[in-house]
């Protein structure tokens, strides 16, 4: 179904419908930034943050790392933590 439009006589239910993202919005970046900022505000150190993305036990964060690579995640961590992330990410 991923590449076909739904038709009126389609007998199937929708499954796992996602939000349509606006043109030019990087959904992964929005979400990754949300994860990092949420935890940073509660005092999580930057090295732990990277571990959160690396661990397969955390499906949401790990999916971003798998899809976009470690450098993508590190750049967001660096951006949020600033100098505190030096040598960590």
């Amino acid at each position: 179904m991923a590449d076909k439009e739904l038709e009126d006589d389609d007998p199937y239910e929708f499954v796992a419908v996602r939000f349509p993202m606006e043109e030019g919005v990087d959904a992964d970046e929005v979400m990754a930034r949300c994860f990092v900022e949420e935890y940073a505000l509660m005092g999580m150190p930057p090295d732990r943050m990277l571990a959160l993305f690396r661990s397969a036990f955390f499906a949401g964060t790990n999916a971003i790392l798998q899809r976009r690579g470690e450098e993508f995640v590190e750049s967001i961590i660096r951006d949020v933590y600033g100098p505190a992330a030096q040598g960590v990410a």
Binding site: E13, F19, A27, V30, E37, L41, M42, R48, Y81, A84
Partner: protein, 414 residues
Amino acid sequence: MALPKVYNWQLGREMDYRFANGPAKRQFAAVFNTNRCIACQTCTMACKSTWTFSPGQELMWWNNVETKPYGGYPAHWDVNILELQEKANPGGQVWDATKKDPKNAPYGTFAGKTIFETADGLTNMVTGYLPPEEDWKAPNIYEDTATAFSKTGVSLPEHAGWFFYLQRICNHCSYPACLAACPRNAIYKRAEDGIVLIDQSRCRGYRKCVEACPYKKSMYRPSTRTSEKCIACYPRVEGTDPLTKGLPMETRCMTACIGKIRLQGLVSVDANGQWFEDRQNPLYYLVQVAKVALPLYPQFGTQPNVYYIPPRWAPRDYLRQMFGPGVDDAIAAYTNPSRETLGVLQLFRATQKIIFSYKIQPGPKTGEINVAGKVRELFNDTVIGFDSNGNEIVRVTVDEPLIERPAQVTMNTI
């Protein structure tokens, strides 16, 4: 017959309702932070195992967590009622966000019609619909789950766009649609805490409440031929549960939340359901001062009392439809929260007892981070919560304690 006029502060205007305002002292209210929910359904099971485990209640989930934009229990409940309202008032269901008043119209003024105003007031007091049995059967099926078993394995849908989870209980509305629709006057709202209950001895199962509740939180039980709904765990809220020795306690779904996304309490209200100023009540602070938490579909007109901190990553037009025009300000206030907001957020699920007031003790600066493109300082403040007698019941810090499980864990060693 002209219906009484009541004031709905969430809509910023008067509206028609079947009954004039009665006496009110306190209102059951809660704030849910959608940004931190992982849809573990612990709340759902806490409620189920407490209240709806008996014959005839199999399809009854007073608390449920659904995946948006697709999910719903009963299926498509919100799309269905929005569609009915749009059909009744085509193109008119809009807000005028310019007509704001901090107390009487904090989100602007709703220029459309409520579910009470689109009904004819004669044969129907409320616009609604009765969901078919099929819609109640599987609260989460088809959301983000696999739908079939395959011997060769399946590939689950990948979340390239992101969902969010919507936690739902009865809103214990100030103007309950269920109450307005009941032909037996079997539903009542308690003055002492605003909890809405169905008198089981009066109910004859006409299901008008099921039809009328826009949130579909009144449910029919075939084994008793009556309708039932969330009772807000009223023995706990009253403080009659032995656990807290007379102190008001949060409901089961709130206290079971492992993600610490829920905070519930009681707020002081006038007859309109408008909140009296109570600056140090954490709910008052989040809803009326910081304005980070918003009512769910306020345009329905029932003045619901569960408030949501909207998810910051979901498309704004979708969220504006769901939570009203206050969404952009709420997300801005949540994304880069004030020092006080950050502290109050730590009170979520910090204790089973209801927190009636809080105090923040400033702590040391712990660092700086960039949030939403701005540099902000971090402080490890201490937040103290007090019970109904003014005694301290909880003390937490903004820095969340970090506990890491060892990489190698031996599971099930009991």
